[in-house]
């Protein structure tokens, strides 16, 4: 007997299925719902409240520091500003050292990593180094890299990647040849960067690396890669005459983000959320292709500057059909691993 079904979460649908099959009487069903949907234990509540207070407290303190240094620069001399930031940084690092590997220690290191950016900004302003904004983010990423490597902390890795994304975007805007949107190259390059990061995290996670347990980081990375790849990819499909090398590269990355998860994240390696994201991207690309086909074909008397009523209906029907097939397929995948609800 495959015990995965019995060891999956007791959702309302499953409990009603047991009632309908006669496994549970109506009164036992009511009791079952009380157990399944009952409030967590007092200790679980305490853990939740502590985690919420810690994360929101850290966020507020960090934001306050940023606001502090956004206000009234002239009231503090440059040494005062630098000294305050450095003192906060040293304090956060000391806290991380003392409290590691507890959650509070990891929070302290996150605060410390977050303070590096404002410190660089104050330094740049105090000494008028003339650095571009992208250099701030690049320097910030480089300086926190040792902490990121040593800490094995998923939030810090995400912070590092976010800094690299912002730094590259600003570099292209401020230094790169041609304007940001004219070239379009940042889109596929950032998509490739985030997709590569996702691949690495996914591979290490599947190999059982302890600190990469949990699915939120791979999901965020994959969604980030898809977000960068999708706009130009859809444009390439819908209007191939407007395609550039950058937009075709985006399309290639987007197709990779569809094929990759669909071929690898099934069966025993099921990751339903990422499969759904890939399917959504696939539906978008196919719909754009259908739209281009029905709106461009003059033989149908369709769009050549005039109205195209049939085209609208075809796209609507095609979209609904694709969604139906996608939902059916995803449900079938979910049935194979009933514990993988989300």
């Amino acid at each position: 007997m495959n015990s995965e079904l019995l060891d999956s979460r007791a959702t309302p649908e499953r409990l009603r299925a047991l009632r309908d099959a006669g496994v549970l009487s109506p009164s036992a069903t009511r009791a079952a719902f009380e157990v399944a949907l009952g409030s967590p234990s007092a200790s679980a509540w305490a853990t939740f409240i502590k985690a919420t207070l810690l994360s929101s407290g850290v966020l507020l303190v960090l934001s306050g520091v940023v606001f502090f240094f956004a206000a009234n620069w002239a009231e503090l001399g440059r040494f005062g500003k630098l000294a305050l930031l450095q003192a906060a940084l040293v304090g956060a690092v000391a806290g991380a050292w003392r409290l590691w590997p507890r959650a509070s220690g990891q929070a302290c290191l996150t605060v410390a990593a977050g303070l590096v950016g404002p410190l660089l900004a104050v330094y740049g302003q105090a000494y008028q180094t003339g650095a571009d904004a992208w250099e701030l983010f690049a320097g910030w990423a480089a300086l926190i890299l040792p902490w990121v490597l040593l800490s094995r902390s998923q939030p810090l890795w995400l912070l590092l990647l976010a800094l690299v994304n912002v730094g590259l975007t600003l570099y292209w805007e401020q230094v790169g040849e041609g304007a940001f949107f004219e070239d379009g190259w940042p889109f596929p390059l950032l998509a490739l960067l985030d997709a590569s990061a996702w691949l690495v995290v996914e591979t290490l996670s599947r190999r059982g690396v302890a600190w990469l347990k949990g699915r939120w980081l791979p999901r965020v990375l994959m969604l980030a890669a898809a977000s960068w790849a999708a706009p130009l990819a859809l444009l390439t499909v819908a209007a191939p005459g407007e395609a550039t090398t950058a937009s075709v590269t985006s399309l290639v990355v987007a197709v990779g983000l569809v094929i990759g998860p669909l071929s690898t994240l099934r069966g025993k390696r099921l990751e339903l959320f990422l499969l759904a994201a890939s399917v959504a991207l696939a539906v978008a690309l196919v719909t754009a292709l259908i739209g281009r086909w029905v709106f461009a074909r003059n033989e149908w008397g369709l769009w050549d500057g005039g109205s195209s009523p049939a085209g609208f209906l075809v796209v609507a029907v095609a979209l609904v059909a694709q969604l139906t097939l996608a939902a059916r397929w995803l449900r079938a995948q979910a049935r194979k691993r009933p514990g993988e609800d989300a």
Binding site: R14, R30, A32, L37, G38, V61, A316
Partner: protein, 374 residues
């Protein structure tokens, strides 16, 4: 082993056997397994929330193309035409959804129905020379309330709940004092809290298909109303600002009552001191954020989501805590330096509160028994 989102089927059955709700039978587990296998093979409705979201979003986009088709064919040439065509589409979709079979029925009927509803609501608003918004909103309230009862689809019930709340908001905005929106926000929150607390009983009853979508619809409507409140300006002659102190006081009262119900569900008596610390923090937060009810509303929903281990509601609440938190501090009429002080101060207060809760938890944990050497 329990999942992070709650006990497993096996654990629930074991708990029921311990409580005596079901007799101890070795074959019960096997029967349960067979029942779940059969249900999984035929169930078309249940799917993870992101699959339902994918289908819902795609259906909404398809609605746009369907309406484009109807307008391009010039089938909709007047308000009366829109009303009639919309009614036909809604009625047809309802019949197909109730009687039809097949995977295509759900998304297809949803698309046609939503397109029809938009035509009915827009057409009704277009029938009058003035007060278009009032007529459209009133039509939306009546139509969507009826469909909430009649249309057997989870996504549609979510949309209907949200549409009714939106319609009521528009009616109040057009014809009543703006502070009545505060009352609506509190009513939405109260309805949400009641539904969540009664969820175990409702899920076991006849109206189980309404519960989940209504909860999400109420939460989304509450947050949407509070977000809109950020942009609303007070009207001349009205003493109370819209979605301000009145809403905050009401939401705090709802949260306090809700916390009492949560504490009552604990199997052991929860320390009275811990509860009063938390209630005191709630009242203090309400006082500090009197003009910004969004933060308190979002935190209340966050607690509800954890109470019933609802991951989707939890994610929604976390997102809106960030939105309203940012909006609150942005709106403070203080200098940047003073704002930084408020942020650091409130962050420090939360960190101290965290330390206090940790200390209370450690004090409540009994010390391990000492071994006595013979």
């Amino acid at each position: 082993m329990s999942t992070p989102l709650g006990p497993t089927v096996r654990e629930v059955l074991a708990e029921l056997a311990t409580e005596g709700a079901v007799p101890h039978e070795p074959t019960r587990l096997e029967a349960a397994h067979l029942a779940l296998e059969a249900a999984a093979a035929t169930d078309r409705e249940s799917a993870p929330w992101f699959v339902r979201l994918l289908v819902a979003l795609g259906s909404v986009i398809a609605v746009g193309f369907l309406l484009g088709f109807l307008f391009a064919l010039e089938l909709v040439r007047s308000a009366e035409g829109a009303l009639v065509l919309g009614a036909i589409l809604v009625g047809g979709a309802l019949v197909v959804r109730r009687l039809g079979r097949g995977d295509l029925v759900g998304p297809g009927a949803l698309t046609v129905s939503v397109a029809g509803e938009l035509l009915v609501i827009g057409g009704a608003g277009g029938l009058v020379d003035t007060a278009h918004a009032t007529v459209a909103a009133g039509t939306a309230v009546v139509l969507e309330t009826a469909l909430l009862v009649a249309y057997p689809d989870r996504v549609h019930r979510f949309l209907s709940t949200a549409a009714v709340a939106a319609g009521l908001s528009v009616l109040l905005h057009e014809h009543a004092k703006l502070w009545t929106l505060d009352i609506l926000a509190v009513a939405l929150a109260a309805g949400l809290h009641v539904l969540v607390h009664l969820r175990p009983r409702l899920e076991a009853g006849r109206f189980h298909s309404w519960v989940g979508p209504s909860i999400l619809g109420l939460a989304a409507s509450l947050f949407a109303l509070l977000v809109v409140g950020l942009a609303l300006e007070p009207r001349a002659g009205e003493a109370l600002p819209p979605l301000g102190p009145l809403a905050t006081v009401g939401l705090a009262a709802v949260a306090l009552a809700s916390s009492r119900a949560m504490a009552a569900e604990q199997p052991v008596d929860t320390s009275a001191r811990k509860l009063w610390v938390l209630r005191g923090a709630l009242v203090l937060l309400a006082a500090l954020t009197l003009r910004a009810p969004g933060l308190l509303g979002a935190l209340g929903v966050l607690g509800l989501a954890f109470h019933r281990r609802d991951a989707l509601l939890f994610g929604l609440a976390v997102s809106f805590v960030l939105v309203f938190g940012t909006a609150f501090y942005y709106q403070l009429t203080l200098t940047l330096l003073a704002k930084s002080g408020v942020l650091i101060g409130s962050g420090a207060v939360l960190l101290l509160a965290r330390a206090a809760v940790a200390r209370l938890s450690r004090a409540a944990t009994p010390a391990p028994a000492m071994e006595v050497n013979p």
